[in-house]
Amino acid sequence: MKQFEPLTRKDSQPVRYLIVDDSVFARKSLAKMIESFGGQVAGEAGDGCTAITEYGRTKPDIVLMDITMPQMEGIEAVEHIVQQHPDARVVMVSSVGYQDNILAALQKGARHFVQKPVKPDALYEIVRYVLSDDGVTAPAGAGKESSR
């Protein structure tokens, strides 16, 4: 997989991600991308309820959240997480990308949306954009292939 210039926090530590998706396979695939961004998987969840608990436990820098999941869907989980943690940064990652869904997610506090199948370049740019307000230091030329 293509390697990206690492995205790091202000304290030079890797960005910590919470991955929420009911598909183990999708979580594995996102974890690989996170690894290629120089990030760290802080936790994983397979439904919205577990995502809320895991957010409180791991306090990630960013959440990658699926929409269609059993028990509690992603949009409802975003609402709960943002209510409890107003600074939470959540990016919705879903194959269902119609306007109503995107709008609902943004209204509940999600910061961005990316449609599956996820392209690593697109996700990298979105993560960089969402975290930029909080001083994530992305080096010049980010997104270019490195020789790592």
Binding site: M1, F25, A26, T68, V96, Y98, D100
Partner: protein
């Protein structure tokens, strides 16, 4: 079954398969079927409810599913690995999600449920209740089948409305 409702699913599978297999997929066969469906490989089902209701079964020969798994994980995958059925679920999720997005943008409202792996028995049962359109896509790594069964409820509701005569 209305072709304009089916077309987004065909287009979506065609695009996603082409991207993941790095080669074009070709529609090799189309047939209508009533009654039980016998799966050919690894199958996953996604259901949806709303103005359009139904379910779609994505059925892949293990070699084709393994190729997609390789693309998504970035490493070699044996068709017998346990990750391969999961791949079919995730691919079904992507294909149906993308098609549903197109239909929603055209004004159809419905909710999509999470994909589930289908066993032989469940697969036969899934095809019992309605007529299905089955498409066979030929790829370099094996066949992929898309079994589409859906009903357009808004239209049915209108048809059921009593007509006053005289």
């Amino acid at each position: 079954m209305r072709m304009d409702l089916i077309q987004p699913f065909i287009g979506s599978l065609d695009t996603i398969l082409g991207e993941m297999m790095q080669a074009p997929a070709k529609i090799a066969d189309l047939e209508m079927e009533e009654g039980g469906y016998r799966k050919k490989g690894l199958a996953a089902v996604v259901s949806f409810k709303g103005q359009i209701e139904g379910r779609i079964v994505l059925d892949m020969e293990p070699s084709a599913a393994a190729r997609v798994a390789e693309y998504l994980t970035g490493s070699a995958v044996d068709p017998a690995e346990s990750i391969v059925p999961e791949t079919v679920c995730e691919l079904a999720n992507m294909v149906i999600g993308n098609a549903v997005t197109q239909l929603n943008d055209r004004g159809f409202q419905f909710k999509v449920f999470p994909p589930e792996v289908l066993s032989e028995a469940e697969c036969a049962k899934a095809g019992m209740d309605s007529e299905a359109t089955i498409l066979r896509f030929e790829t370099a790594c094996g066949n992929v089948y898309l079994n589409i069964a859906m009903r357009y409820h808004a239209r049915r509701a209108r048809e059921r409305t009593p007509v006053s005569v005289g």
